[in-house]
């Protein structure tokens, strides 16, 4: 099973999701993030899905759950780099990803997180 690496830069945790995630990897990521947030007290989480080609309702739910988990640790989550085709499909599916913010890329995601003081 592939483990998604979590990188800490300043007060933010960066997660970059590459290719097709197995279900167990997604669940593992949630656990690892909870660990890191608790350990580091980071204020923000950026999840980069630039390389993700498919987001179905399962992945969508996982992303919203990550948002909820982060909020428990008083951290905000921003999903960045969503592909146009994925955004259009999610919209058609009726998934609005409540509870997570979105930004065009990691830079804007950071601006968003820092602006919230």
């Amino acid at each position: 099973m592939e483990r998604v690496p979590i990188v800490k830069i300043g007060q933010t945790l960066f997660v970059s999701i590459q290719i097709d995630l197995q279900d167990e990897s997604v669940l593992r990521l949630q656990e690892d993030l909870a660990d890191e947030l608790s350990k580091t007290g980071a204020h923000g989480v950026i999840i980069d899905i630039t390389a993700v080609e498919i987001v179905d309702s399962f992945i969508g739910r996982m992303l919203t759950m990550i948002g909820s988990i982060s909020r428990l640790f008083d951290a905000e989550t921003v999903i960045v780099g969503m592909r146009p085709a994925v955004a259009i499909t999610l919209t058609e599916l009726g998934l609005s990803l409540r509870g997570v913010r979105t930004a065009l890329n990691a830079d804007k995601g950071l601006e968003m997180l820092n602006g919230r003081t």
Binding site: V80, P84, A87, T91, L97, A103, L104, K108, M112
Partner: protein
């Protein structure tokens, strides 16, 4: 269409006189295309068609008639692409009747078979007409698509602010196109604000409103804020009476208002120099 075996005799007759008939038919068709296709190519087309015609008439080869129709359909489409009128193509097919008539004019015993042959050629001529119409429809559909693309521009109003002036009805096909262009432009320009100008949208009913909401949702997933502007008074009334809610999406009367709003959100101010 059933070709009865009594055409076998005529088929044999036509096969015996192949050179003469093909030559004469090619002449007539070449005269009709008036140089737009080379004589050599016309001859080759005619030879291929002629052998298919004879095979169909002998009745022995079941698939021959189907192949003949397919070959003529392809010919008709090719002619259509090259700007020939359907009449020109059909006349080329009908010309075979004249040639064969010349051939069998004195053979009384072949007259009944000629009638069957004539009907077959009529059917084939009409077939080229129908194929032509279908090919034209495809071309028109393609042009409609191009027009739709051209009438969906995405313009850059300011650094980080883009606008989509929508003109005409916003149906689902159009909405897909708008979403694709809008999102691609967001990625390309890194804009954080999009203005959807619906001044040119004649009616806003629940379906159109849903399409607008979808577009806004999609843009938001890419981190862009949206403003809808161009709500005309009549449209405003319809929206309210239909109970359509735009929720937290800002709506403004004019593009100018929407631009001011977007600039404010971007922390910019426009003032005298």
């Amino acid at each position: 269409m059933d070709v009865d075996s009594t055409q076998g005799r005529m088929a044999a007759y036509m096969r015996d006189h192949q050179e003469k008939v093909v030559g004469r038919w090619s002449e007539l068709v070449a005269a009709g295309v008036r140089g737009r296709i080379s004589a050599v190519e016309v001859r080759r087309e005619i030879e291929d068609l002629y052998s298919l015609v004879i095979r169909s008439m002998s009745g022995a080869d079941e698939q021959a008639y189907g192949e003949l129709r397919a070959a003529l359909a392809e010919l008709s489409r090719s002619r259509a692409r090259n700007g020939f009128s359907p009449t020109e193509t059909a006349l080329g097919v009908f010309a075979l009747k004249d040639v064969v008539y010349e051939l069998v004019a004195d053979a009384d015993d072949l007259v009944p078979e000629f009638l069957g042959f004539s009907r077959m050629i009529d059917d084939l001529g009409l077939h080229t007409f129908e194929t032509y119409a279908a090919a034209r429809e495809e071309i028109i559909a393609g042009q409609a698509m191009t027009m739709m693309e051209l009438s969906t521009p995405v313009v850059r109003l300011w650094e980080g602010i883009i606008a989509v002036p929508l003109v005409g009805t916003l149906d689902s096909a159009r909405t897909q196109l708008v979403m694709e262009k809008l999102l691609d432009t967001l990625v390309a320009t890194g804009a954080d604000h999009a203005v959807l100008d619906i001044t040119g949208v004649p009616t806003v009913d629940t379906e159109v409103a849903q399409h607008l909401l979808k577009t806004v949702n999609a843009a938001r997933l890419l981190g862009a804020d949206c403003t809808i502007c161009g709500i005309r008074p009549q449209v405003a009334h319809t929206i309210v009476s239909l109970g359509i809610e735009f929720g937290d999406i800002a709506t403004k009367a004019t593009l100018a208002d929407a631009l001011a709003h977007a600039l404010k959100r971007a922390g910019l101010k426009v003032g005298p120099a």
